[in-house]
């Protein structure tokens, strides 16, 4: 975790599978179905997004990467068929198609306060033109074929053919990046107060309840679920929000959170922290968001609230 908090860390994102979406109507088609502002994404950019139903319920999370002539939608394998079915259902005469590519590239996450410095080192090992998302050129021996997308400040998504896996690891190590486990990434997510589909939340919750505020854009035109989500955002009324907690031992998932005996929320997930404590994510009623006071779980474990996390300034309208 030190590398994630103070240095630079990397993780091979093996859980991400890809759907390639192409066609002249692809930007508007995807923009109407996903929460992220796809039309404004620059070529080469990658951004997280959410899937919502027409009432704003959380149906999945994914990455979107924009290339010159296609979009890559990256998400866990078990949601891929759901996404394809969603796209099939909503396509009429739009000029858009999608495929699951046969040749699968690997993806790596590079994160941490020094990730930008590490990336500069890594780029010297790669062909600079690749960063501009031209088609991968025919390369001589020595050059590392990778694509780099900056997803947020000091966060990068690296894409490379599977055959380059060993080279990527060597170059990341040379750049000073430390490998981290998926558990460390989950802990990072817990520290950020953001839930994930299939872990802390599913379709029974609304997208903003799960903390995914940076994936919601209300000025991009209509998208699936927008009316409910916009009403919640601009008029208030979000009753539940995912909060961060520190606990001295792990409660049962779903345990009620109590304030003076009154049920005010529940534990949605917990993870062992590196200080031998436990970090939890739990839904808390809005009456207790700002000054929750002393909370305990129903099985008597003290739950110290660590506060709501506001989204980054990259999307100030949802801050």
């Amino acid at each position: 975790m030190d590398a994630l908090r103070e240095g630079v860390a990397f993780l091979q994102a093996q859980w991400l599978h890809t759907l390639l979406v192409t066609g002249p109507d692809a930007p508007t088609f995807l923009n109407g179905l996903l929460t992220q502002d796809i039309a404004r994404m620059a070529v080469g950019a990658a951004r997280p997004s959410a899937l919502a139903d027409r009432l704003g319920h959380f149906e999945g999370d994914l990455w979107i990467a924009r290339d010159a002539d296609q979009f890559q939608l990256c998400l866990p394998a078990d949601r891929l068929s759901f996404l394809v079915e969603r796209l099939d259902r909503h396509r009429f005469s739009e000029r858009v198609t999608w495929i699951v590519p046969e040749a699968r590239n690997e993806r790596w996450l590079l994160l941490g306060p020094k990730a930008g410095v590490a990336m500069a080192t890594l780029e010297r090992a790669a062909v600079p033109a690749v960063r501009d998302f031209e088609p991968l050129p025919a390369l001589g021996q020595g050059a590392l074929r990778i694509r780099i997308r900056e997803t947020a400040a000091n966060e990068f998504l690296i894409e490379a053919p599977a055959a380059e896996n060993d080279r990527v690891r060597v170059e990341l190590d040379r750049a000073g990046a430390q490998p981290v486990s998926s558990t460390a990434m989950h802990l990072r997510r817990y520290e950020s107060g953001v839930g994930a589909y299939g872990f802390e939340a599913g379709a029974e919750r609304l997208v903003p309840e799960v903390g995914l505020l940076d994936r919601l854009h209300y000025d991009k035109g209509c998208f699936l679920g927008q009316e409910t989500l916009a009403r919640l955002h601009f008029r208030g009324g979000l009753n539940w929000r995912l909060n961060r907690f520190r606990l001295h031992r792990a409660p049962a998932i779903g345990s009620a959170l109590l304030v003076r005996g009154e049920r005010v929320g529940w534990i949605a997930g917990c993870i062992r922290a590196d200080d031998a404590g436990v970090r939890g994510l739990g839904f808390l009623h809005r009456r207790f968001h700002e000054e929750p006071g002393t909370l305990t779980t129903i099985d008597g474990i003290d739950a110290e609230p660590l506060g709501l996390v506001r989204p980054p300034a990259s999307n100030p309208e949802t801050a």
Partner: protein
């Protein structure tokens, strides 16, 4: 026009009210469009509730289009859209508080506040 043979036929897919017929004719005249132009009525994916109505003028038909004529107005609708729009009434409301073209779709299970998007 596609080489496939299609029949101008009455269809129960979409019905235009007299106001809508008049509004379409007026648009064709105002924009000096040829009389052979079609009004393409369809559905697009996306929008608050999942699907949105689309209206446009078109001069070419596609292989899966159905061609309908009502009161001198020629409509085309693609097969997949027709399944969702069957029984729909297209009206036109003008004036200061007019909403323009308004769809009343018996297949819609819900609509957004502005009425442009619907769910089935």
């Amino acid at each position: 026009m596609s080489e496939l043979t299609r029949t101008l036929e009455k269809s129960t897919a979409i019905r235009l009210t007299p106001s809508a017929v008049e509004a379409v004719r007026r648009s064709i005249e105002d924009e000096k469009l040829p009389e052979t132009i079609f009004l393409r009525v369809g559905v697009k994916g996306g929008g608050c509730s999942g699907f949105s109505y689309s209206l446009s003028f078109d001069s070419e038909t596609q292989a899966d289009d159905r061609l309908v004529e009502q009161d001198g107005v020629r409509l085309v609708v693609d097969v997949k859209s027709e399944m969702v729009l069957r029984g729909t009434e297209l009206d036109y409301s003008s004036g200061l508080n007019g909403k323009g073209f308004v769809f009343t779709n018996p297949n819609a299970t819900g609509t957004c506040g502005c009425g442009n998007s619907f769910s089935v």
